[in-house]
Subunit: 165 residues, 2 copies
């Protein structure tokens, strides 16, 4: 099955925000994104994983430009939602591989993760859809990660999309 | 900005697998997906979130058909990777909304999450890409969730894609 990676994209304009320990009950995610919408914050990558039985961590990525607004939004959220801590982390960047059906093939995921591993890059977060696998990694490793992924998947000389595409 | 949801998709053929407490160091994700690739397991939604300082939880979704193979793959992984626990959960289903640029607009995310909240549906996992927002929810709530999302986003009578699209 000829599943092909068509492009490698990256972004350094990334601030990871994590709300740690929100209650795991209906309506909580809606409340968080209602407040973010009221502050018109541009959102990239929403990730909620296993968490714990009664609590979850809700993570999302914003741009540096929106960091101030997001701090205000989180302060506003504190009034109506209990959570343990809100972490802002601007030490990360994002690299993605893009192509139809790539996320369903574990061999493609393995090749991406192995490329990063060979560079000693630690993967902080992973999120996929049927067209894309995205990883948050240390920002200062984005350039060499794009290069190794380019070698691994696009050596035939296909397209590398610029930042933020 | 006219960001439009074009379709609602869903799938009930979902088994969530979570490797809890894997070491947070380079090469671990590569090892996991190398083993999954060796057993030719079809993968949907890979999610790794904040986790803890030295440990992460790596979650992925497989089909029911591959559950036996995945159990064997995890047993094989135990030989070479330390983790606290491997959870298999086949009580979940997936609903997604699809449309260009929808994940970056917090208002769209809010409307999806609020639709599920109004039904009292608890969101177990969330994953997004620029084209899609996907939620894992209790499988027995998939039908009524698709209906409410259809009402919320597609009432103008646009496309609802069938299962597994
Ligand atoms: C947990 C796993 O993702 C690890 N951080 C890695 O880079 O492989
Ligand atoms: C944590 C949050 O996602 C919650 N489970 C909800 O449904 O809103």
């Amino acid at each position: 099955e000829e599943v092909k990676v068509k492009a490698i994209t990256h972004s350094k304009d990334v601030v990871k925000v994590v709300l740690l320990g929100v209650p795991n009950q209906p309506g909580v995610a809606a409340l968080i994104f209602k407040v973010l919408a009221e502050f018109s914050i541009f959102i990239d990558m929403i990730i909620q994983s296993e968490g714990r039985e009664t609590e979850k961590d809700v993570a999302f990525v914003i741009t540096k430009e929106d960091e101030g607004k997001a701090q205000k939004a989180i302060n506003c959220l504190k009034e109506c939602l209990s959570f343990r801590e809100a972490k802002f982390d601007d030490s990360k960047g994002k690299v993605s591989i893009v192509g139809a059906g790539i996320a369903s093939n574990p061999r493609i995921a393995y090749r991406m993760f192995d490329g990063l591993a060979r560079l000693g890059v630690n993967i902080d977060m992973i999120s996929t859809s049927n067209l894309r696998i995205s990883c948050l990694i240390p920002r200062d490793r984005v350039e060499d990660s794009v290069q190794i992924l380019h070698k691994e998947f696009l050596e035939e000389g296909e397209v590398v999309l610029r930042e933020n595409s």
